[in-house]
Structure formats: C-alpha cells, structure tokens
Amino acid sequence: MGLESLYPDYDVLALQDEWDANTRQIVKQRLGPFEFKLLSHWQQGMIKALARQLACEGRDEVLTWIAFHVETELGKPQGEAQRKPGIPPRKELILAGLDALDNWAKAKFFKGFLSLKEAQQLEFLQLLEVGGLPQEEGWDVERQKELFKKLAGLVITAHYSHPWVWSEIGYGGPAYPRGYVRVELGLVDPWEPKQAEWS
C-alpha cells in the first residue's frame, strides 16, 4: 500500500503569505516550540506512542504537537460536547487510561507500555477499541471503548491539523482571501498541489 506522498514537491507553508494573519498565526503555532504544563514527561511519551499507532505517524515534531494538543484540550474549562453517563470526564478518563494501559502492559509482558514493541502497542490499541482488555478497576467494555474514541478523536484532529501533513496529502489549506478560481473537475489553480511527474 502506498504510504508515500503523491505531492512530494508541495509545501503548504510556502503559501502562508497569502493567508490572513489570524490563520497564519494559528497554524504556525503548531510548529512549536511547546511548553508543557499539564502532562508529565511520561504522559507525553505515552500520548506520542499511542499517536504513532493511531495516526501512523513517525515524526517526533508532529507527535509532539499532537501531545501538546491533547494537553491543551485537557486543560480547557469548556465541555467535551458529549459524554456517556458513568464515564469519567475526559481529562480524568484519559489520564487514568494512560496508567491503565501501562498496568495492562506490565501484567501481560512484565514491562511498561513504552518498553513494548510497536506491534504490541498496536495490539493493545486494537483491543482497547473493542473493549477487549482486562476489565478491572472500572475498565469495563464501555469505558475502554470511550477511552479509545476520545483519544483517537484528539490525536487524529491534531494530526490532520499539522501543516506538514497538509503538504503530504495535497491539501490546499487556508484559502482566504484568495479563494479558488478553478473549482471544476480536473482544474486546479496555479498554486495548488500537483502530483509529481513520476507518480
């Protein structure tokens, strides 16, 4: 399966002078540097390890942004839109979930989650998605599934908000005030991503 970009020559950040100032500032903050206040070093490591599997992403810079996004969201006073009754609030659920994953790893492989092989970490996430991990200390099927959903939602949101990922997938990105002149099937504006000749 092709996991290479079809647009290797495209850099969405090279277009930033065409963006409105507000958008430019918001997007550039995702390149760091990041100052973590809430998540411990270990918790950051856990989020990054999980994001590596969930998003299939290997670059430390992008993974660090994802961890920072999770920290930002968990620190917000606003709500989480929806939560199932009996499930702890998102921050509590995720932070407790990181500990639970580590404990499950220790119980099964006698080492912490971060010391597992990537294939083992992936397997843990596959089980978590369907609630297939040991049901102890309140981690019933429903709570495991919710942990997976909340984690995946935060991680994938951050991943596809990173401009390097936009470049890779050939996303035009912010388009104000310029907009698009050629939207018809098969037409592109001169600045839009185009597939490399050889692909």
């Binding site: 290479e4 009754p85 936009w166 996303y171 939207v183």
Partner: protein, 540 residues
Amino acid sequence: MAEKVSVQHNCDHYDRERHPHLRKRKYGGQEVDAVIVGLGAAGGVLLYELAKAGLSVVGIEAGPFWDPQTDFASDELHAQSLAWNDTRLSTGQNALQFGANNSGRGVGGGTVHFTGVFYRFHESDFRVRTLDGAAEDWPITYADLAPYYAKIEEEIKVSGPREFPWGAFHGPYPYPERSPISGNAEIFRRGCAALGIRSTVAPLAILSAPFDGRPPCINRGFCNQGCLPNAKFSTLIHHVPKAIGLGAEVLTDCMVTRILVDKGGRVTGVEFNHDGQFYAQKAKVVIVSAFAVETPRLLLNSACSQFPEGLANSSGLVGKYLMPHSGHDVYARFDQEIRLYKGTPVLAVSQDFYETDLSRGFIRGYSLHAHGARPVGMAVKAATNAGIWGKKLREIMLHWNFYARITLVGEVLPEATNCVTLSEEKDEYGLPRAQVHFAYGENDQKLIAHGIQKCQEILAAAGGRDAFVVPDSAHLMGGCRMGKDPSTSVVNEFCRSHDIPNLYICDASVFVTSGAANPTETVMALAARTADQIIAQGKR
C-alpha cells in the same frame, strides 16, 4: 509558544454603544416588550422582526458576538470554538454526538457554521400521520409557511437552480444558481445522470452575486468553519446587526439560567449569568430560541412551585420526540483527482428519494448531497465512527484527493423515548446538565440502508470504487413539538406555549417531524411567522 490570539468581546450592544460590561444597559432596569433567549437562526429573525415593528426587545446569547475577521480562521481545529461544546450526557443505542456536529454557540448560532443548504420542507412533511400513518401531523400545512419561505429567501437572496424539481416550490430563486460547481458535485451529477436520478445545483444561503455590501462566494470551502468573506448568510451578519440598528439590545456571553414566573403563572422575564454574576431582564413576552437541547433543558430547569414539572410541560412532552437526521457519509475512490476541499461543500443535490415509496420497505425518505470535506472532518469521523485508523487511515488520507463523498440527510421518525431530560450532574452554574437519549427505529434503519446503497450506486456509476461508509447524524429537531391539542403538544401553531400565554418557544424544537431536508429555512420561516403573530397580539 507564541502569544495567544486574544480577541476582546463586548457583551452589551445597542445604538452604536458597545461595552465590555453590563453597567450601561439600554433596557437594564426596564420591562421590555420581549426578551429572546438564544440568537441563532430563529432568535436572529425574531429579534429583527420585532425590532422592525417598533417593539422594545432584548436578545440574550450565551456565547460571544463573533467578529468574522478576527474570530474566524481558515482552519478546522480553530473552528471548534464556534460550537456549543458544553457537555451533554449522551445515551442510547445510537448516542448522539453534539458540539460542531449540530449546535452553535455565539451570535448566529448554527448559521455561523452551517453548510448554507436552504430547503423548503415538502407538503407531505406536515402530514405524515395522514399520509403514512406514523408520527403526527403538524398543526400547520405547507401553505401556512409558503409566504414566509418566500419572504426569507428574498430577504437573504438565496441562490438556486432555475428549476427545482421536487416538493411544492420549483423556483425561481431570487439569485441565480452557483456556478461553476466543484469536482465532487460534478461527479455526483454524472453518477445520478447515468442512473436516471434527477439532480440539481443546491439552493444555498450563499451569494452568487453581490448583495447588501457582501461579495459572492469565493469557493474557499470553509462554510462549516465560519465564512470569512461574509458571502454565506448567517443571522450574525444579517439579522442581528440590522436589529441593533432598529433599536434592539443584544447581550452576549450571558447564559440564561432560569425563566421567571409570577404567582399568577405568567412569565415575567429571565435570569441570566454574566461573568459569574446573576442578573434579571424583565419582559412582557419571553421567547426561548435555544435549540433542541438547551430549550427543553431551560424549561425543565425553570421548574417552580407553580410549575413543578417545568414550564410549558403540562403534557409531559417537554424534551420528548427529539430527532436528528441520519447523516451517513459514503466515500469512494476515483482514478482522477476530485479534491474535496475545493468550493462550497454542498453544490449538488437530489431529492428523488424524498417521498414515501412503499416498495422500498419503509416510509418517508431522504435527500442526497454531494458533500465536500476537509482533512480533520474526514479523518476524525473515519477513526471514531467507522473504525478506520492507523495505517489504513493514513493510506486513505494520502490519496484523499481521489475521494468523492455523498452525504445522506435521512428523515428520522419521532419516538417519545428519544428525549432530553435533566441529569444528576451539574454544570458551572449549578444547573443539571442535559441528558439526551437516542436510538434509531426500524424504519430509520431501513431508510439508512437504502440511502447508503443508493450513494454507493451513484458513486460506482461515476467510476468510483473501494467505497466506505462513515455513520453520522446531523441537525436536531423536536423536543417541544407544536400541535393543536395541549395534552399531546407543547406549543400551538404560532409557537406559543399552551400552558403560559406569554411564553413562546420558537426554534427547531417545535418540529413535529424531521423531514428529510436541512431544517434552517423552516426554522427561520417559523420564526418570521411567530414574529408576525406576536406583533399582531401586541397591537390588539
């Protein structure tokens, strides 16, 4: 980390006055003719119409008064701030997702981040009990709303096709249809044509030519993230500023926590919270336009000794019969680039499957939309709603420019068990959070299966392959339905509560059935009709 973008929001707006505090109120100590709770699609129209008629009116909005130029960005993550993100407890077999999925916060409400698809309901939508033997009939017919549909379309210059083939209204629309259409819309129309399915360019509350100092659409594609050029209509940029010009006062960042009731059982105004302080606004008429979850929640949270079960709730139906639309997305991969990010998201539609056809094995129907997407929206829903993540998601997203998408807007039949109630859990104001229960019924499930099949056929007919489905829902309706009988409905045909003569409930919560069309135009038409009634009552 770089300095955070910070925007100063004023909270009191009237007569060219804007203040970051509530110490210079226009109507502070007075009893006004009307107070409106929530300034979304309905509240915006009501504020404007009542102010235009010379009534003293105050609109109170929980969220900010957005300035598109400084508060909106061309960014999906940033746009999450436009949604109502307060936690709702969500239960049931098909527990609903809230936030950006269906509700807005701030002036404009959902119109700030809606796609702009602007449909009238069909005649049959108001008579489902009579025609299909299910649900209930509305206390009004299409003919009652038709003049208000026309009024709203004209007022905001809806763009649409010369000939709209379905329902009672066939055009023309005030402004010409949008042209050109996007690659995704073109693929949809080709697939439909190959199968003999009729399709048209979408009727949209998005300008196709200049109007009122606003430019036509530039096809930026960020309708769901807030329109920066102001080409897309919202009550934030249309009705509310005009209402302020006509004398209305608008309070923002003010959460209404209770409707006040006197000993005689009439409402006297509302209590609201700004920055931790409680205030009151007295009014002759209270209009609740806070959408399908917060409206029932406020009525239930306003229970008092006169109305221990909540206001307007003698029928016990406040919060009941909540309906979303089924909103499943079907994606398929093509050999050529489609580029889902370009252009207005919904530019082509079909309502060929809107009306009941019993040979399909279910009643009612659905609309189909060629629906653009952006990376976060597509990838997150694939991961959380369809179990597509990791390597598989990465592979799809690296080829995402080759995907087309069709979205279902499926009618959901009302069930009393699908409802908004109060939970044990409290929010920051000490008020019980809403708990929302939802499960699709058998008819809904059959309709969804048919719709998904049809989407797959259309995409395949256009050359698509490797289709995948992402279950989703959209919009919310019901919870305070209208009706003639006070024992089986909450409000009358003019959105006035049966129980309390000076309490109106006017938003999507009064819908009796969901239809299979995006609800915003019907919400606005109902609001315009209700405004006429309130004005006529005031003159008497």
